[in-house]
Symmetry: C2
Subunit: 405 residues, 2 copies
């Protein structure tokens, strides 16, 4: 094939908030109606903390026409066609936090300060809309159901079964904050087992954090120093908890946590798991593991590498495992590659061997989500970036450097 | 000098629990008496989680004679003389958690589930005993006051002033868990300012963690995966909060967090602080910083490298900064080097250039704690390990490898 097949392992889709009403069970309409204004105000305020106004307005102004792809099927297809992307994994929170599902059922999924019943209702509303949205282009949309797992395992099992039937391919679970049962708790075994059986891929996604006080100096620096840790935290609960030992085909993806630090996370777990004088006093916590932590990662886990996929990411691709990294565009989030996807891909992917690009751009995602390679390749023939796109420009013997500028 | 001057930047001292009564203000005696049995039972239970019984009993059985150095001045001097250690930094929790100050005023210093007034009382009791203990050998004991800072800044200011007058050299503060004001809060400015003015060194120490459920599979692996993060967490609150910018002579030490991962922590902060597309949307959180995060670390911070100071630590010593690392023995904790200090030093320090050993074994600690170099060097002449101890054995030309075994 002359073109690359490109799958974005990180995209976002969501309705304008008021439209979620149509997908919400009617018994929650009253609460929805009475809380919508407050929710939108809170989202606007959150966005004030997270998105400086000037940056946001300039960004939105330049690309207004493409942003409605967060919920408009045809606009989205036009955008990803132009970006050369054949298929996308779809998380919630469309354009930004302002397109989140109702009742705090978006990326944050915080397990405190919310009504669990309402958060579940919001999650179901999003999942029902998302299933319809994916059904409009099933080859190209890999929908991820929102599952507020910490509240209720039985509801989770029910919703995961529904989501699988409805064509969704995985679930987003909250990271671990607060006082709910952590993911090394046997209570969750039925969830992991069901996901393994159905091939539903489990995800965490960057964004959630404790409730920092953003009026304090440097609070954003603190958030940036920690967001990847919070999103990744379930990994060592699951690995040391023996979850991947017990459910060896379970699939777990960590999305948008940046890549440069992932090797140090893997090293950390391996060092901690190794038998040393210093942990000898701590008793047995390894007999439920037959492999090193990094070996479970290499078998069961992937990194959705989006937004920050740059020279820091490509430098460590072999330390993470070239078969563990799935490139993503993060469309339509402002920190993503769109609307400069071609330019950014060119900048950071040029010079990487094509066999490695094939893995990161599509093969790994095809394996993880069990996608229809043949149909996607047909599509890529039309829209995918040419294989020459990321080749080093030829250098000519005798050419003098520094003259062409 | 023919011997190394060795200062241990991590040691532990504390009374048998019942003896703290003598140092506790009398108005707390009733509560002390009624809670002592429960405290000792809780400590024993905590130790069951953290120290497997067999390991602990064997360890204690072998070295029973030296353990009382946790509180016995002469025993302690005998032990560190034999270890070649001229002076020690003294944190709480003598032998193990069983020698912690009353009312949860030990290393954990948790800011939840305790009575703040009692925790403060326990801290003061420990600090008063520690000041006496240090006064028995002032050249050789660098006492660290326990300061439950999260509860009350005014009490903290008062106790830091007292501790300084009483000859203590620094303070131990709790890491950040729970819902108290974090260390980027301006409320703490008076504390940082006072510490800067008095030259009191601020410390966090590994140990504290959220309340994991240790009955769950792999919980100890989770603890091991996170303890260093929790102990180090105040660092990025203080750096991004501009604390070291505002108080450029403030000194901060992170103790016993293992070293192999410190470079990745520094890289993480620097990457997060760098201007990138991906953080552009997040507004200004750098204008209160004139340097990179790692540059504040290089100027204001040290790592007390104990217990786990091994090949993983020496490999990264230049990435951390050879002037930032202070070796420690962790006596009398079971994960420390004692009673095999000479053997462990030989194993991990041999082959390192002497100028670097001088820094890590004493010069850095002398600078950090403003110690009396001359008097310590006199002492080291008597007890310090010889400079030949850590030289590579000479190799002879023509010698055939593999035959001497």
């Amino acid at each position: 094939m002359d073109n690359f097949l490109v799958i974005s392992a990180d995209g976002h889709a969501g309705l304008p908030p008021e439209q979620y009403r149509n997908y919400l069970e009617s018994r929650y309409h009253e609460q929805f109606d009475s809380s919508l204004a407050a929710q939108m105000a809170a989202a606007a305020k959150a966005e004030e903390n997270f998105l400086i106004k000037d940056f946001n307005e300039e960004w939105r102004g330049n690309i207004a026409n493409g942003l409605s792809g967060a919920w408009d099927s045809q606009v989205r297809l036009d955008v990803i066609n132009a970006d050369g992307i054949a298929a996308e994994v779809l998380f919630p929170d469309g354009i930004t936090e302002q397109n989140a599902p109702p009742f705090d059922a978006g990326l944050g999924l915080r397990p405190w300060g919310v009504d669990p019943e309402l958060q579940w209702a919001g999650a179901r509303a999003h999942n029902r809309w998302l299933a319809e949205f994916c059904a409009e282009a099933p080859l190209r949309r890999i929908g991820i159901a929102v599952i507020p797992l910490l509240w209720d395992v039985d509801l989770a099992l029910q919703e995961i079964r529904w989501a699988h039937k409805a064509g969704l391919k995985g679930l987003l679970i909250p990271p671990l904050m607060g006082d709910k049962d952590p993911y090394n708790h046997p209570n969750y075994y039925p969830v992991w087992e069901l996901c393994q059986d159905l091939g539903m891929v489990i995800h965490t996604h960057s964004g959630p954090s404790p409730a920092y006080d953003f009026s304090l100096p440097g609070a954003m620096g603190v958030y940036l120093s920690e967001f990847a840790w919070w999103a990744s935290r379930p990994l060592w609960f699951m690995i040391f908890g023996g979850v991947f030992e017990k459910f060896p085909k379970l699939k777990f993806v960590i999305a948008e946590v940046t890549e440069f630090w992932v090797p140090s996370m893997l090293e950390m777990m391996d060092v901690r798991a190794s038998v040393k004088h210093t942990s000898g006093k701590l008793g047995d916590f390894r007999s439920n593991l037959s492999m090193k932590p990094s070996e479970y990662f290499a078998r069961n886990c992937w990194i959705s590498a989006s937004a920050h996929f740059d020279e820091g990411s490509t430098a460590v691709r072999h330390d993470i495992g070239i078969d563990r990294i799935m490139w993503g565009s993060d469309y339509p989030h402002p920190e993503g590659s769109w609307p400069k996807t071609a330019e950014k891909m060119g900048k950071y992917l040029t010079g990487i061997p094509e066999s490695e690009l094939d893995l990161m751009l599509s093969d790994n995602a095809i394996e993880c989500y069990e996608l229809d390679r043949e149909a996607l390749q047909q599509l890529a023939k039309e829209i995918g970036p040419s294989r020459e796109s990321f080749r080093e420009p030829p250098s000519f013997e005798g050419e003098q450097k520094g003259h062409s500028a």
